[in-house]
Symmetry: C2
Subunit: 272 residues, 2 copies
């Protein structure tokens, strides 16, 4: 099994912490911190890291594509271009391999899902968020997440989610939409599926540290006023996001990439 | 007594909530929320609001200058220009009034202090923060604050403060520096003064809501995992900032504006 996940958002939104929490890894231990000077110079980089993980007995080669520099500089009006180019380069590569002699051993590097991190500022989508999603929604499955959800009270989370979804609709952005579940599924499953759809954008908290809560050791963040627990559904949607990505929707994310986004690319290639 | 405070930072960093908390007002109740579309179009606005408040028996005309739009658009490379123009326009106005006939009744609209909000979501100063402070540090007293400090654990607050101060030094930025206290002050005062200097940038939390904690009603934010209290020194530096602005350092902020920033402007005017 191969799966490629792209992670996009301004630096400091907890992206690497979240990826490490999702897959219980330490993918970023060699990342070096840039100084303010270096960050002023930078443009968007594309970095790829692969790890083999095992989920529920299934071995998975997970590739995480990072986009450091996105949204960081003073002028971000080209922040999305390197990302668009990367996604289309993978389509191009696949297209050429597919038409080649050795079709049996194609390596599929296409991006199956893009986690887009929305800053928990509280007023809704920012211009850079709209700009990115409008240009990428027809090239990759976008799953928006509200980063650092522990900065928001439950009321603020609800308000922000409603606002973001309304703005996504008003701006004609097509984020990844969960398929309807089969009518012969049991009631429990249908209920979970309904709650999943209603949770978007997923409000997430991530943590690389383990804290003790009520005698149990959990991943969380220790504040003077309390402990936020990553896997506590009353605190955030981390568990929903993880289940969706790794258990219930990985297959569909790959199929939509193949049958919709790559297909659009292929048709454009044939016509040119 | 007149005092003009300018507030600068990206939208959503809790600036209006903090100003309301500092002065126990509701300065922004008529602010309308912009849609994502409107925010894409916008450039930096300068808005001024004045209120009369009483602090410790002293009546004060407080003017708050807001800079909505700063740091919000996709291309922020001119975000600071309207702010520089505004500050210099107030100097120009004062300069002309000072050389005019009616010197006794000059209205002093010069900006005495600029609270610059640093996002808690970064790894240190962002390019826009450096860009702003480098251009404004010789025109106005800059007091940096770490916004929404309840997003940071105590360790993260310490690390971010050290990083920000180191980057400020490395980038040759001159933020407002607290005067040394007189050697004949008592030990308590000297200790408080030392702690004040060591707290910069002030890590602040603001709140428009009152919550009940241990039988007391306090300003704070109610989370599922606990309550952050605005005026609890174990939670943030709000009280330090408020004391500095309103009690101990208001006079010095006005004097430095007059004797340093305005004086620089005056000398440049004379030479041109
Ligand atoms: N409040 C809060 N802070 C977080 C969270 N996840 C990570 N952080 C902190 O945010 C900072 C930046 O995290 P990092 O994962 O490096 O962000 P990245 O630049 O987006 O990869 C670190 O100090 C993290 O400890 C979260 O869910 N909530
Ligand atoms: N986590 C956190 N949120 C805050 C704080 N202060 C304000 N907020 C919330 O942040 C959002 C934006 O606040 P606002 O004052 O309007 O920000 P402004 O756009 O900078 O003026 C609102 O939902 C506030 O309730 C704070 O200290 N911590």
């Amino acid at each position: 099994f191969e799966f490629t996940l792209m992670v996009v958002g301004e630096s400091g939104l907890g992206k690497s912490t979240l990826v490490n929490s999702l897959f219980l890894t330490d993918l970023y231990k060699e990342r070096k911190e840039l100084s303010a000077d270096e960050r002023i110079e930078r443009t968007v980089d594309i970095k790829r890291n692969s790890i083999d993980i095992e989920e529920q007995g299934v071995r998975l080669r997970l590739t995480v594509v990072d986009t450091p520099g996105f949204g960081d500089s003073v002028n971000c009006s080209n922040s999305w271009k390197p990302i668009i180019d990367y996604i289309e380069d993978q389509f191009a590569q696949y297209y050429e391999d597919e038409s080649g002699l050795n079709r049996k051993n194609i390596v599929d590097n296409r991006v199956h899902c893009c986690l887009y991190f929305i800053s928990p500022y509280g007023h809704g989508l920012r211009p850079i968020d709209v700009g990115f999603m409008q240009r990428l929604h027809d090239k990759v499955n976008i799953v928006p997440v509200l980063a650092k959800a522990d900065c928001l009270t439950p009321t603020e989370v609800r308000t922000l989610k409603e606002r973001v979804m309304r703005e996504i609709r008003e701006q004609d952005i097509n984020i990844y939409s969960f398929p309807d579940c089969d009518s012969d599924e049991d009631e429990d499953y249908k209920q979970q599926d309904k709650e999943l759809k209603a949770s978007v954008p997923f409000a997430v908290i991530g943590s690389n540290t383990v804290v003790e809560v009520g005698g149990k050791r959990v991943r969380g963040r220790l504040y003077p006023w309390g402990i936020t627990e990553v896997e506590n559904p009353k605190h955030c949607d981390f568990v929903k996001l993880r289940n969706m990505l790794i258990r219930t929707h990985m297959q569909d994310l790959k199929e939509v990439t193949r049958d919709l986004h790559y297909e659009n690319y292929r048709l454009r290639r044939i016509q040119d």
